[in-house]
């Protein structure tokens, strides 16, 4: 603090509290809506304090979905989302760390060609090439499978770049010492590079888990079978008509369930999340 201006500090707190309240409001309303029965929600205005149907609503969606919209159980969807998010996060980290290792620690023909091939994929989102990618996945017979959900989204350059940047900062003396001690490249990778990369891996994991969990367009296209829906798709399938035709209390319970896992990952791993965000985008 440069100087003491009490009214400015009060203003700062006031703005922050207002910001937090405005930003939290939609989620608070969602939670309240998920604890009432449908009749209460359909009243205008709906109540703004939690009701007594919390357990019934959540038990209903977890086991049997909604009654008017999709009847797929949200429990299965949460499992699908978890598998997809973990496969994307772990798959991306695994293939990126080894390719970055090869590009940094080896000299071989076509090295720069490979580097540029990965580089080109840096910003092109799946939304842009959606229909041809769908055809490829359909030709490979991977519709309605975990493989089809995760593999196409594993192709991304950000993780490779982060690891490459990080490896370039690892002192050369470490590789030299390893070579003198007679360690081969893979031994060096397992015993030196991997332990040093722990923080970067944790940071990337948070970012990529959220990325995988929140995917929408891709699962929307390739999951036609109810048992393969992810949670985000499940919500969309529960909305069947205009305002009054939907079971908003159940939809909102599912929305809370869809938000909870990634929000927990962000909050629990906040330190790595902030680091990962600021570093992957450099």
């Amino acid at each position: 603090m440069v100087e003491n201006r009490p009214w400015l500090t009060v203003l700062a707190h006031a703005v922050m509290i207002l910001g937090v309240v405005v930003i939290a409001f939609p989620v608070y309303v969602t939670f309240v809506a998920s604890t009432h029965d449908l009749e209460r929600i359909m009243q205008v205005p709906m109540p703004l304090v939690p009701g007594d149907r919390l357990i019934e609503n959540y038990a209903q969606v977890l086991s049997a979905g909604t009654t008017t919209g999709s009847k797929a159980a949200v429990g299965t969807m949460l499992l699908n989302s978890t598998v997809m998010a973990l496969a994307i996060a772990i798959g991306k980290i695994a293939i990126s760390i080894i390719s970055a290792f090869a590009i940094v620690y080896f000299r071989f023909p076509l090295r720069m060609a490979f580097f540029w091939m990965i580089f080109v994929t840096l910003m092109l989102p799946v939304e842009v090439r959606i229909i041809p990618t769908f055809k490829v996945v359909s030709d490979l017979g991977m519709l309605n499978s975990y493989l089809g959900l995760s593999l196409p989204l594993i192709a991304s350059a950000t993780a490779t770049f982060l690891f490459r940047q990080f490896f370039l900062t690892v002192p050369d003396e470490l590789a030299e010492a390893a070579r003198i001690d007679g360690a081969g490249p893979m031994r060096f990778f397992w015993d030196v590079v991997l332990p040093l990369s722990k923080t970067s891996i944790a940071a990337l994991f948070v970012i990529q888990f959220i990325y995988g969990w929140n995917q929408y367009l891709w699962p929307l296209l390739i999951t036609t079978d109810e048992s393969m829906y992810t949670t985000v798709i499940g919500i969309k399938r529960m909305i069947v008509g205009s305002d009054a035709a939907n079971e908003w209390n159940l939809i909102m319970a599912t929305a809370i369930l869809a938000m909870l896992p990634p929000a927990l990952v962000v909050l629990v791993m906040q330190r790595w999340f902030v680091k990962g965000l600021v570093e992957t985008e450099k």
């Binding site: 603090m1 700062a12 707190h13 703005v15 922050m16 930003i23 939609p26 989620v27 309303v29 809506a33 929600i41 709906m46 293939i95 080894i98 390719s99 290792f101 590009i103 080896f106 000299r107 071989f108 091939m117 990965i118 994929t121 910003m123 092109l124 989102p125 842009v128 959606i130 229909i131 041809p132 055809k135 490829v136 593999l151 594993i154 192709a155 370039l168 050369d172 590789a175 081969g184 490249p185 893979m186 060096f188 959220i210 929140n214 995917q215 929408y216 969309k236 205009s242 305002d243 009054a244 908003w248 939809i251 909102m252 929305a255 869809a258 929000a263 962000v266 906040q270 902030v274 965000l277």
Partner: protein, 293 residues
């Protein structure tokens, strides 16, 4: 920058890059090439036969008022999302930076919307602002505002902008707070000693020093508005009413999947790819400049 110490092996490096290259080829280069190929084809109404028509799909697109309209909608949408998102999160970050105690606490309370899927954010806003039962609609009616985004194009645009900004604020906030905390205290103190008040210090010292972050966020937010908001649009307006919120990426999906116009949709994909490449180049040129800065 290159490593001095390297390992030698005839096959190992290829084996290590193989998984990533294979996935990139199968799910990136092959579909991208197909998109380019389809964009030169015209299919008959049943999708049975197609013929090579050169650039005709592109000419058709640029003569199509619907496509030009979609460009305008995307421009309005991304400017609103980027400007509102950056302004609000900059205000919050400056205030959080001022608070000596509790800045991290406020950060915790503000970063979680990043974890909410755009499609879920869309559903939340659709519910809050639902024309008949929404709680905010009710409050607005009390103030004499008649709110119905199902039939009013401007209100529909406002709705998706609000959901998109809400979803993106935490991201901008994290970057602004990190940028603010890296500004040397001595600069601010020097300005204070010279008699500059808080507003003057912000506009003459802090804001110029934040300009690299602001520019970076501008590019990221535009990219987000172009591509990341698909879920919000699909969960709320689905491009409507009419085509008033049909952004480019939604039109690719709509024409390709729902209207099954493969050639036209692929031509739109190709145009979008060029836009992405242009934005990437802008961002990288800027990153190079910042290194020298």
């Amino acid at each position: 920058m290159e490593k001095r110490v390297v390992f030698r092996s005839a096959w190992l490096p290829y084996a290590l890059v193989a998984p990533q290259i294979a996935i990139t080829l199968i799910f990136f280069f092959w579909p991208a090439a197909q998109a380019v190929w389809y964009s030169f084809q015209l299919q008959d109404a049943f999708g049975l036969r197609s013929q090579f028509v050169g650039l005709q799909n592109f000419f058709t697109l640029f003569r199509d008022p619907g496509y030009l309209h979609s460009f305008r909608v995307t421009a309005v949408f991304s400017v609103l999302v980027a400007v509102a998102g950056i302004a609000i999160s900059l205000l919050l970050a400056v205030m959080a930076d001022r608070v000596v105690r509790g800045a991290v606490g406020y950060r915790t309370l503000l970063i979680w919307p990043y974890a909410v899927a755009p499609a879920v954010a869309g559903v939340l806003y659709a519910f809050l602002f639902a024309p008949s039962i929404g709680i905010v609609t009710y409050a607005l009616r009390g103030m004499g505002v008649h709110w119905n985004w199902i039939i009013n194009g401007d209100q529909a645009m406002l709705l998706v902008v609000m959901a998109a900004v809400w979803n993106q604020i935490s991201y901008n906030f994290v970057f602004f707070l990190a940028g603010l905390q890296s500004i040397p205290r001595s600069l601010i103190e020097a300005a204070a000693i010279d008699g500059a008040g808080p507003m003057r210090r912000f506009w003459s010292v802090v804001f110029p020093l934040l300009s690299p972050t602001t520019f970076f966020l501008l590019v990221v937010n535009v990219v987000y508005a172009f591509f990341g908001t698909f879920g919000i649009i699909d969960a709320t307006t689905q491009g409507g009413p009419g085509q008033d919120t049909q952004i480019l990426v939604y039109k690719v999906y709509h024409d390709g999947v729902k209207a099954a116009d493969l050639g036209g949709s692929s031509a739109q994909s190709v145009i979008l790819m060029f836009i992405v490449i242009a934005l990437t180049v802008v961002q990288f040129r800027f990153v190079e400049r910042r290194v020298q800065y």
